[in-house]
């Protein structure tokens, strides 16, 4: 469980009727500074009725009410997008009456309403209750839905694996060698242009859409993100986030001394990036000849 008392993990779920507003919804969530998007992923639904029941299985409203309220979902696109966030401002309070009284995060509740007001279908200029988005009331619901999606570790999935190195949920042996590597020996793995025939291609950093973006060719990166976000790309990347990184990036500075680019050794002194292609592209563009990397053993 998330042991940092001041934070909690929450999720938003974009229903099929809101998928065409995905970018707008993500922008609204990104603008909320107390939320940090951790994962974005698409989920295809085999049985909508069953799925809706699972999502609302921890809800506080009476079952019949939920059944009526979610009827419209049975005819929506059987695809949803999950956006998991770290909520740094829980701001919890009680909502509902009597046996339906429950705790919610005001931050999440407020944002959910903003999104619904903006994107829920309107009839006679009034917002309908056919919601485009659902959000968790508490961390247990986030834990439950992750387990339902097949992540048995629940919210522990988001806890950093290492106390020292800033790496994301990587199952490793916990042995890293931190050393300088010549930039020319570093390769990256990107989604193949032949996808879905071939999933990934190993190439030089300068051939990646990430490097091209830093170099001024922004379209290929934008196209790459738009095409694969939520499926093969699940981190919170978009041009605006990348622009901010480019502007403020200082590799391994005092405040981020262990934010290493994570690599793994291949043959012939070559290394492949496991985490940090955006950062490596910036360093490559700055013409750095060597970088300090944590090499996974």
């Amino acid at each position: 469980m998330n042991n940092k008392e001041e934070t909690r993990y929450d999720y938003f779920l974009i229903w099929g009727n809101g998928l065409h507003h995905k970018d707008g919804i993500l922008d609204i969530i990104r603008e909320e500074k107390s939320l940090k998007i951790i994962k974005i992923f698409e989920h295809k639904i085999k049985n909508m009725k069953k799925f809706v029941k699972e999502v609302y299985s921890h809800d506080y409203a009476p079952y019949q009410h939920l059944k009526d309220k979610t009827k419209y979902l049975l005819s929506t696109d059987p695809k949803v997008i999950f956006i998991f966030v770290k909520n740094k401002n829980k701001d919890e309070d009680y909502f509902g009456d009597n046996e339906y009284r429950h705790i919610e995060s005001k931050t999440i509740r407020k944002l959910k309403e903003i999104i619904r007001n903006k994107y829920n279908e309107k009839k006679e200029e009034k917002r309908t209750e056919n919601h485009v988005i659902h959000a968790s009331d508490n961390e247990n619901q986030t834990d439950y839905i992750l387990k339902y999606l097949g992540h048995q570790e629940g919210i522990d999935l988001f806890e950093p694996y290492s106390d020292i190195i800033s790496i994301k949920e990587l199952q490793t042996t916990g042995v890293y060698v931190v050393k300088e590597i010549p930039m020319q020996n570093i390769y990256c793995s990107i989604i193949s242009s032949d996808y879905p025939k071939k999933i990934k291609t190993i190439t030089k950093i300068e051939n990646s859409p990430h490097f091209k973006y830093v170099d001024g060719d922004k379209d290929s990166y934008i196209e790459y993100i738009n095409k694969f976000q939520g499926t093969l790309l699940q981190d919170n990347h978009n041009p605006e986030v990348f622009d901010n990184l480019i502007k403020s990036f200082h590799y391994l500075d005092k405040d981020n001394s262990t934010g290493y680019i994570l690599t793994k050794k291949l043959r012939d002194q070559k290394y492949i990036i496991l985490d940090g292609l955006h950062r490596a592209s910036i360093l490559k563009h700055k013409n750095e000849k060597h970088i300090i990397s944590a090499v996974l053993e």
Binding site: I164, G174, K179, T258
Partner: protein, 214 residues
């Protein structure tokens, strides 16, 4: 690790809560040696050591730093390598280790941090401060080290010799023995085994009774 680099690291963590345990001032920094550090927050201390390590990699004073981490045990080795040889190791503990023969109350480690003392190290041209446990806690650490490891590593007798050499008067002996009774519990595996066997016999008897009733 030379005195200048030791100074850089210990100066950088001077405002953090840690203690160097079983300090041997004479060999601190020597080739192939290690230093054991118990940290209140292993993440902060580990990241700060790595910050200095990054600068030492850039100046080519070391060619690689190996980080071996057991997150569940909150135990990290930070190994400094020069020409592919282990030069010096920082052995960081973020919680009480699991001991084989003893059970140490968790209050022991927080009390050690609370009552730590500052020690000034003068090494070659460098002077820096480090935090160590107070004398009584230090003796307890050495006693634990001896009890845990002397069966496999007879050289650990040195810790017992050290403890006995430091217990020079009745008052010190009294405080030391009181601390043992306060913090150290002997693992009662024998009792556990007896209980386990008793439970097994009880279960078998119950099953037999049921079977006989049928």
């Amino acid at each position: 690790m030379n005195d200048k680099n030791l100074k850089k690291i210990f100066d950088y963590i001077q405002n953090d809560e840690y203690i160097v345990i079983k300090l041997d001032e004479n060999t601190l920094g020597d080739h192939g040696k290690d230093v054991d550090i118990y940290c209140k927050n292993i993440s902060i201390i580990g990241k700060k050591i790595m910050h200095i390590a990054n600068s030492l990699l850039k100046t080519r004073e070391y060619d690689q730093i190996k980080l071996i981490e057991n997150k569940n045990e909150k135990h990290v080795y930070i190994d400094f390598y020069k020409n592919n040889n282990l030069n010096f190791r920082f052995d960081l503990f973020g919680k009480s280790p699991n001991f084989k023969n003893l059970t140490i109350k968790k209050e022991f480690f927080s009390d050690c941090l609370k009552n730590r003392i500052k020690k000034t190290i003068i090494k070659n041209t460098s002077t820096f401060n480090i935090f160590i446990p107070n004398e009584n806690h230090d003796l307890l650490f050495r006693y634990i080290e001896y009890t845990e490891n002397h069966a496999e590593r007879p050289e650990k007798i040195k810790h017992l010799h050290y403890v006995s050499s430091m217990l020079t008067d009745k008052n010190k002996i009294f405080i030391f023995l009181s601390s043992i009774s306060l913090y150290v519990l002997k693992k009662d595996t024998e009792r556990k085994n007896t209980l386990y066997i008793k439970n097994c016999i009880f279960s078998i008897k119950r099953i037999l009774k049921k079977l006989l009733r049928i």
